[in-house]
Amino acid sequence: MGALQSLPDEPEYRDLSEKTGFSFEQIGILHKRFKQLSHNEDTLRRDDLNTIPDLACNPIRTQIIEAFFDKRNFHQNGEGTVQEISFEEFLVVMSHFRPPALNMTEEQRENIRREKLRFLFNMHDTDNDGTITLEEYRHVVEELLSRSGALGKETAKGIADAAMLEVASISVGHMEPDEFYEGITFEHFLKILKDIEIETRMNIRFLNMDTTNLCNDWRQERPQRQRFEWLERKT
């Protein structure tokens, strides 16, 4: 279908492939998806992601979407957020979820692990000060529990507090009464999650082949105008 039409030049793909580790096919598919989401624009905005129907019931939707617009996840040294992202940035963010290669050295594994955890950490550390503060943590838990309605808020607070305490006791250990725990730093974050094999779990299988039926539900939910747009592209 529209894939061929929207294919950029080969060298560009090669460039992207080197940067992100995706195969050409995967890039092609993701590119198509990108076009879909952005309504054939070159850049993607928050609203484009916000309107994905499947995402609507995801409790941490906003955080994920923010992550896509967070400069820290672009493998550059920037900070802050952007209003719209290009396909390349989209790919780079996606590449955090790429499954690792089959054979890795211990060092590589550790790097991948750090990278993936960094992504998660950044997702929770919304103000980008290097620590997940209690407020931020509460926010995360609250969102996780947001499906449960009114009961969630108080509970979330309790849980977040307990969790924070736990972090404090794990990472700092002995605490003098006059000490206080600032928040979860990245090092502590690594520490508390050291038992979770994130490098093998935070992965998504990016398909090599085209699955056209993906767009179906998307198409149904689009407004009429956009559907036409899409059909036009298709033909």
Binding site: E154, T155, E166
Partner: protein, 918 residues
């Protein structure tokens, strides 16, 4: 143990003579069994290997006269002529003072003795720690069985006891499968379902065909003796039954090896799910053998395939239906908690039997029933029932496993069933091993294209090596009809050798192998709160990214399923009260309980209020009321428990500390006022126990809160409160000043809500929920409340309101005070109001509170002189006295002191009480 076993067996053998006709009975049954298995698919096929019901359909006729023990006897078998003996005995003379009623009790007696032998054997094995780490239990049990079998053989010249298919399939196997299914780590299982299915179906087929064909080829080559009269069909049949990996053996061996979860679930899942394949292959070949290979038509092969689909899908469906039924029934057991465990056992067992009834795959049915119902049932039934179910299942499974292995050993001794052929045996051993390895490697190669986490070489080695054969194969081969399959005796011998070899040799060597290969081991620990939070976050994160990437992948569908489950299934299958909370309830309650435990432990032991360390035996003995909580935790704390048999694995590192705690608590804390109540009702558990526990904890909480209250209320203490509140406001202001910098201190306010909102939360929940569950962990603290006359019901929302806006007003203590006085004044709890409460060291979270108060005070004014109540107290409180306090720091101190251990705990508590006594 042998000392025990020998007289028992002699006893048995004396009586067992009567039962010598049993093999004959059995043999006469088999033709019928064979005949009826003529057709291929369809429910009219009784010859399924797992449907050995026939034996029991017929047996009752023989045992007509003694219906009372018919059931028991069907489990044990050898007692067909019981009745005559006892009859003659009874009428032999006049009145006898003491009668020898052996024949009357014989069958149940023998069963009980067998189980006793098995249990004692188990106990004895575990005496020697060093020994059991090297030799797997299953090996030892088989050896024991061999010895016992030898003794019986010597004593009676005839093997009386052996593993009978009926006993095995109807009673022993279900207990093990039921346990495995019910406690199956569902998430892990479904995460790897594709892999498991491939191994179970393709792998088993591959093994069966290759082994069968190659054995036939070897036969043609003349390596197998001519006496083994078997054609292609017979060898394929044999291949089918010998190729299936056995759940019992795998469980027994892998449990001790403790490989990582993924590896375990793949091998174990395969062993469970390949049942359908084995059943169908066995049936198909049996029927082919019946009609003769030359009469087999092409259509029959397709029927075989269709049969496979019916057997596997049908079995699964039966299981799921029963799971739904069970979950639905447990919704309504609120008033009759006592039958909950029974319901669980019954329905799961019925799922098995029903599948057998329609000759579907019973193992599949039971497994899926267990997996399916677990979530809902666990949520519905009471805490006690959960524990009961767990213990009973584990007990039964463990005993069944023991008996199976002992019987395997015993059966092997019986020479009459044997026909040794070295060629056949060695070829079979080689083939099953080689083909298993080949199959695993090939399938893994294919799978690794799709798996996100590829299975590496080491995994493949362990998987190949872990292909253990066991009692299922043995039971199937014994079920063979000697007339149709002339080589049955050879097959039996080969199967026994194969089972022994795999269980004993591979079972013995797999542990060193795993060590040598450095296979990642399972970590049998409870997930921390953070891990739980982040795991949840991952799941959503992955789903979201999949959605954004437009991939309908695994996470997408899992999320869809969860939505469906939440919107429809849970609504239908969960109690209303549970359903409303279901989303967060587990996490929430877990944390509540962890808190509570840590609160209790604060008495001097581990203060880590969040990071949980379970009290080990010592402290449990000293705290009757903790037991519930601990059990609850142990049950619910672990997402994955590989060790399907071992129930508790309490890390008992701090024994010394524990005992110290014990003394400390025994000396300083309340004494449980035990009220022994006799239980009159058989249908309702008396709540006395819970009530006492409730009351204890409740009182303790109330006391501590009363303290807080008093400090504010009574004027002589009041000034402190005021000051501290002022201080707090001051610090609030300070905080607002710092508002440009986000608040990132874990302040005491942030801590304290852990107590108070918890309560208010529960109250709220309770208001919504009229249902009262009498035993549900630690939450009873709050649950107690609504029962009491609500003198000022209005104050609940008020308290809540305050609680919810912690930054506006000095919230949590006030909230507590508002709520608690009237709570404390409730008539049933007179102790709370009495002044002697001051002498009791509160071990509630108030410790944190007190500490923060005292530190707050020391900030504004010279530290309040502490009147030591206890020598140790003064030292400790002085320690914490003149500290440079920051408002926010003090909060953590209470909580953070968690890591300080025993001394810190005591100090915290005591400093609190000390300041109160001023």
């Amino acid at each position: 143990m042998l000392l025990f076993g020998v007289p028992v067996l002699l006893l048995l053998s004396a009586v067992g003579k009567a039962a010598t006709d049993l093999p004959a009975t059995e043999a006469s049954l088999h033709p019928e069994l064979g005949l009826r298995s003529g057709g291929i698919p369809g429910p009219s096929l009784p010859a399924s290997p797992t449907s050995s019901l026939d034996r029991f359909q017929v047996q009752p006729q023989e045992e007509y006269a003694s219906p009372g023990i018919a059931l028991a006897r069907s489990a044990e078998g050898p007692s067909a002529t019981t009745e005559d003996g006892s009859e003659s005995h009874r009428h032999s003379g006049g009145f006898q003072m003491v009668q020898w009623e052996w024949s009357y009790v014989q069958t149940p007696y023998i069963i009980a003795i067998w189980i006793l032998v098995a249990s004692v054997a188990k106990i004895l094995f575990h005496f020697s720690q060093r020994f059991t780490t090297v030799v797997p239990e299953s090996c030892m049990l088989i050896l024991l069985g061999l010895v016992l079998g030898g003794i019986v053989l010597l004593a009676s010249k005839k093997q009386l006891y052996q593993l009978e298919p009926g006993l095995f399939f109807l009673f022993l196997l279900p207990t093990i499968v039921g346990d495995a299914g019910y406690f199956m780590p569902a998430r892990l299982f479904f995460d790897n379902l594709g892999t498991i299915l491939l191994y179970a179906v393709v792998g088993t087929l591959w093994n069966a065909f290759c082994t069968g064909f190659c054995l036939y080829g070897v036969k043609l080559l003349g390596i197998i003796d001519q006496k083994v009269q078997a054609g292609l069909m017979e060898f394929l049949l044999f291949g089918a039954l010998i190729s299936a990996v056995d759940p019992v053996a795998v469980l027994a061996v892998f449990e001790e090896v403790q490989v990582n979860e993924t590896l375990f679930i793949i091998v174990f899942g395969e062993s469970l799910l390949n049942d359908a394949v084995t059943v169908v292959l066995y049936k198909v070949y049996m029927s082919f053998v019946e009609v003769g290979p030359e009469n087999v038509q092409t259509a029959d092969y397709f029927k075989g395939v269709a049969s496979f689909l019916i057997v596997s899908i049908g079995g699964t469906m039966v299981g799921l239906i029963f799971a739904a039924l069970l979950a639905f029934i447990t919704r309504f057991t609120k008033k009759v908690r006592i039958i909950e465990p029974l319901l669980v056992f019954l329905m799961v067992y019925l799922a098995y039997l029903t599948a057998e009834l329609f000759s579907l795959s019973a193992i599949l049915s039971m497994t899926f029933c267990g997996i399916g119902c677990n979530k809902y049932v666990e949520a519905n039934i009471s805490q006690k029932s959960r524990t009961t179910v767990k213990y009973t299942m584990k007990t039964l499974a463990s005993i069944a496993e023991t008996i199976i292995f002992i019987f395997l050993g015993i059966s092997a001794v019986d020479k009459s069933k044997w026909a040794w052929d070295t060629g056949l045996i060695s070829c079979t051993l080689i083939f099953i091993f080689v083909f298993r390895a080949m199959g695993v490697v090939m399938q893994t190669w294919v799978l690794n294209w799709f798996r996100l986490v590829p299975l590496d070489k080491i995994d493949q080695v362990v998987m190949s090596y872990g292909g253990l054969r066991g009692a299922v194969a043995f039971a199937l081969v014994v079920l063979l009809d000697a007339e149709r399959v002339p080589a049955k005796d050879y097959f039996v011998a080969t199967t026994i050798i194969v089972v022994f070899f795999t269980v004993m040799f591979q079972g013995l060597t797999i542990k060193p192998l795993v060590n040598w290969l450095k296979v990642p081991r399972a970590t049998n620990r409870k997930p921390t709160i953070n891990e739980e939070i982040h795991e949840r976050a991952f799941d959503h994160c992955l789903t979201a990214v999949e959605d954004i990437a437009g991939l309908n992948g695994y996470h997408h569908w899992r999320d869809k399923w969860e939505q469906f489950d939440k919107n429809y299934l849970s609504k239908l299958l969960l109690r209303k009260s549970v359903y409303r909370k279901s989303e967060l309830w587990e996490v929430y309650q877990k944390i509540n309980i962890r808190d509570a435990i840590s609160v209790i432990d604060q008495g001097g032991n581990v203060l880590t209020s969040a990071r949980l360390s379970l009290p080990s035996m010592a402290s449990r003995a000293s705290f009757p009321e903790v037991t519930n909580v601990t059990n609850y935790l142990r049950e619910n704390g672990s997402g994955v428990c590989l060790d399907l048999q071992v129930i508790d694995n309490v890390p008992g590192a701090k024994v010394e500390e524990e005992s110290e705690t014990h003394h400390f608590l025994a000396g300083n804390l309340y004494k449980p006022r035990r009220r022994y109540q006799s239980h009159y009702s058989r249908h309702f558990m008396t709540v006395g126990d819970h009530e006492r526990q409730d009351r204890e904890i409740f009182q303790r909480n109330m006391k501590s809160r009363m303290e807080t209250f008093k400090t504010t209320r009574h004027k002589r203490h009041g000034h402190k409160k005021d000051r501290s509140q002022k201080k707090r406001r001051g610090s609030d202001v300070k905080e607002q000043d710092l508002n440009d910098k986000p608040r990132r201190n874990v302040s005491w306010q942030d801590k304290d809500p852990m107590v108070v909102p918890v309560d208010s939360e529960d109250e709220k929940g309770e208001d919504l929920e009229p249902e009262k569950e009498e035993d549900i962990g630690i939450t009873f603290v709050a649950r107690k409340v609504p029962e009491t006359p609500k003198e000022r019901p209005k104050s609940v929302p008020a308290g809540l309101e305050v609680c919810q806006s912690p930054s506006v007003a000095p919230p949590s203590p006030t909230c507590g005070e508002r709520n608690l006085p009237w709570k404390g004044g409730i008539g049933t709890l007179p102790v709370c109001v009495s002044m002697e409460a001051t002498k009791i060291i509160p071990i509630d979270l108030q410790q944190a509170w007190n500490q923060s108060i005292s530190s707050l005070e020391s900030l504004g004014s010279p530290p309040v002189p502490v009147e030591p109540l206890h020598p140790r107290v003064s030292a400790l409180s002085r320690l914490g006295g003149p500290r440079p306090v920051s408002y926010s720091g003090s909060g953590v101190s209470g909580a953070g002191s968690g890591s300080r251990g025993a001394g810190g705990g005591g100090g915290g508590v005591n400093s609190g009480s000390g300041h109160r006594s001023v």
